[in-house]
Symmetry: C2
Subunit: 197 residues, 2 copies
């Protein structure tokens, strides 16, 4: 049931909005409080200090529920597995909240060591691992050409990431994304043609 948000979550949401727009330094405790509709001092009833808010947001960025079940079975479908992944990636790219979190991630990537490590371990490695496992199975099945699965997985994901960044940059200025919206699917076509036997 859609219960009313508690103040703590309201603070986090306001902070995400502001950081996505102005960066961590630009998202002052004052502005966060104003957005929530309380005074600065009231923030400190919910968080020890400003950094604790960011910590919580960073955790939320990397707690993406991700389909990892039946990997072997799904991988045997070959191209349609990759298609499914790309479409899921596309949905996330266009989801309003996920897009905001993506912006926060990029903005803070070079300024927050913990976020950086999570990016490399969670964001990067988790996807790479899943895809590489699937690609390995496809190689065993003789569906695709042989190569280092980890490397091939990165070749598959990089263009998706780049397109996601591109989408995010266009949307921030309210520019049209229609010329690149189909690139997620086109990439799968191109990639599959590149590896299929």
């Amino acid at each position: 049931m859609p219960k009313q948000q508690n103040t703590r979550q309201k603070i986090i949401d306001a902070a995400i909005d502001l950081i996505a727009e102005k960066g961590y330094k630009g998202a002052s405790v004052r502005k966060i409080a104003a957005k929530v509709g309380i005074r600065e001092s009231a923030i400190y009833n919910h968080f020890k200090n400003k950094e604790e808010i960011l910590k919580e947001i960073v955790e939320q960025i990397f707690t993406t529920p991700f389909e990892t079940e039946n990997l072997e079975e799904r991988a045997k479908k070959g191209k349609s597995f990759l298609h499914q992944f790309a479409v899921a990636y596309k949905l996330v790219s266009f989801d309003k909240r996920m897009e905001k979190l993506f912006r926060v991630m990029i903005i803070e990537l070079f300024q927050n060591r913990k976020l950086r490590e999570s990016f490399l371990q969670e964001f990067h490695q988790k996807d790479i691992h899943q895809i590489s496992k699937a690609l390995f199975i496809m190689m065993q099945e003789g569906m695709i050409r042989s190569a280092d699965p980890m490397f091939m997985a990165q070749e598959f994901i990089s263009p998706l990431f780049y397109t996601r960044l591109h989408v995010s940059l266009l949307r921030i200025d309210a520019k049209s994304t229609s010329p690149i919206a189909t690139q997620f699917e086109k990439h799968v076509d191109f990639f599959w043609e590149s590896i299929a036997l």
Copy 2:
């Protein structure tokens, strides 16, 4: 002849260092002045305000001298053209000053509209255009399979960009980049095998 830097350039260099480390907001006029070895007020003899410093830096980011001569001739060499491009991209990725400018670019990408537009027009489009022209020539020569050259160019560049980001993230924490240093060349091999006829 290697003349002594004037104060103006010293200010810019100090600002690049500080922004790459702390972001634009974290790179205060105070700190920039301290790094140069002058007082804050002296900064204003060289720049109208803080933003003008950033403007200058943004311009420096996108004034990359880029090899565009003899494109047709070079393109006909096929794979070795792509290899040349990737190696140049790799060199830039590991160049200390270019790496700093790359960081500044990523940090400010979502916070500076002008930088964002330059990114899309200069950084992104310029590379894409050059590569797509070369790929078009290769298609005409029957060296590679036919496809939309612009799309194919993006497929070629995305993994290079992703690897560059990866390198930058590792180096900021002084982590080893040797596991991914060869990815630029490996990508060319993989890509060429994907498109060669």
